[in-house]
């Protein structure tokens, strides 16, 4: 499971820390035990002095106070030195590389890096009674080329760690020949929240624009159909009735006079209005014309 957040200063963006390994606690415990043994004489002296306060009087008492104080401060100073030497030795394994940080006392620090794809072989060694019982040992990582091998000394559960390093090495090789995941390519400077607020990707946005174009075209087609619809609605039922009368008249006259022209059909209210008889004396349809009429 990767460790989240930026765990060390030189950690790259998109680099995830999988292992943060320190030497087994037994290494520091052995040193601490030795130093604790050195503190015991001072503790015994204090106990004896508190029981017999007149034993150490005068200059001897002054001398013992100064000496014991200096001795105790030196011992805890050595403990601090040992802790810095132990605790700041770190082995970091990420999804891209291995970082070996070695702290040698004060003001001496060594950092070595190795890319995972440069690993040739990983070997775990457990040698000794204490190592076998407490499960700690060394891991030897063979590198390609002239680089020195990486050694993880006195690490806990070396077999498990070696296996995990091999798995990360294989995953790094596979990732090298496969396209990167989109989230690895997104950098902080390129992130724009408005692109992701609706949960849509750029591909979805392009498709949506295309869909809107098609929809607008459909709307145009519908609009032309509406014009046709309006034209149909303008043909009122009254027009239909007039048309039927005309048809019936034409069928009646056609039976007597075959030479009569066919009835002209008119559409619209303006045409039917012209077919009606005008009270001023104009001819209606079908009416014969008498040229001898005297209109005076």
């Amino acid at each position: 499971m990767p460790i989240s957040g930026k765990y060390f200063p030189s950690q790259l963006s998109g680099e995830r820390v999988f292992l943060l390994i320190r030497r087994h606690w037994i290494v520091f415990a052995a040193m601490s035990l030795l130093l604790a043994v050195l503190i015991v004489p001072v503790i015994m002296l204090l106990i004896y002095w508190s029981a017999n306060p007149d034993t150490f009087s005068g200059s001897l008492g002054n001398f013992l106070i100064i000496l014991s104080s200096m001795y105790t401060l030196a011992v805890i100073g050595l403990m601090l030195y040992g802790f810095v030497n132990y605790y700041l030795d770190i082995y970091i394994v990420t999804n891209k590389r291995i970082v070996d940080i070695k702290q040698n006392g004060f003001f001496k620090r060594e950092i070595a890096e190795l890319h995972l794809h440069q690993i040739q072989d990983v070997e775990a060694r457990v040698d000794g009674f204490l190592q076998t019982v407490i499960h700690f040992g060394d891991i030897y990582i063979q590198t390609a080329g002239e680089r020195e091998n990486f050694i993880f000394a006195d690490v806990p559960h070396p077999y498990t760690l070696a296996k995990e390093i091999i798995e990360l090495h294989e995953a790094a090789i596979e990732a090298e020949y496969e396209p990167q995941m989109p989230d690895d390519e997104i950098k902080a400077d390129d992130y724009r929240p408005e692109d992701y607020s609706s949960g849509k990707t750029t591909t979805d946005q392009a498709e949506e624009q295309r869909f809107q174009q098609i929809q607008s075209q459909d709307n145009q087609i519908e609009d032309s159909g509406g014009a046709i619809k309006e034209l149909e609605e303008s043909y009122s039922p009254k027009d239909a009735k007039d048309f039927e009368q005309q048809v019936s008249k034409s069928s009646a006259t056609s039976a007597s006079d075959q030479t009569q022209p066919e009835v002209e059909l008119g559409f619209g209210s303006h045409d039917s209005g012209n077919q009606q008889k005008n009270p001023t004396g104009e001819l209606s349809e079908g009416q014969e014309v008498n040229l001898n009429d005297d209109h005076n």
């Binding site: 765990y7 943060l20 002054n62 601090l80 802790f83 810095v84 605790y87």
Partner: protein, 68 residues
């Protein structure tokens, strides 16, 4: 006896410089959530306790110029 006091205070100066360098390393190269901060606190408390106790004992006793 005064000479002993002088030696002790010189030692204290060196101890403070040594401790400051060690604490600086723990503060700078420690990571989030590790033991560096607690160890720094414990070390400072223990060191101050020992120094204060010693100075208290020095103040209670007489320090002649010569060794008697």
């Amino acid at each position: 006896m005064i000479f002993l006091l002088v030696c002790y205070f010189v030692f204290l100066v060196g101890f403070i410089i040594f401790s400051a360098s060690g604490l600086y390393h723990l503060w700078r190269f420690g990571y989030v959530g590790d033991l560096t901060k607690p160890v720094m606190v414990v070390y400072i408390i223990v060191a101050i306790f020992i120094i204060v106790l010693t100075l208290f004992a020095i103040s209670l006793r007489s320090w002649p110029a010569t060794i008697s």
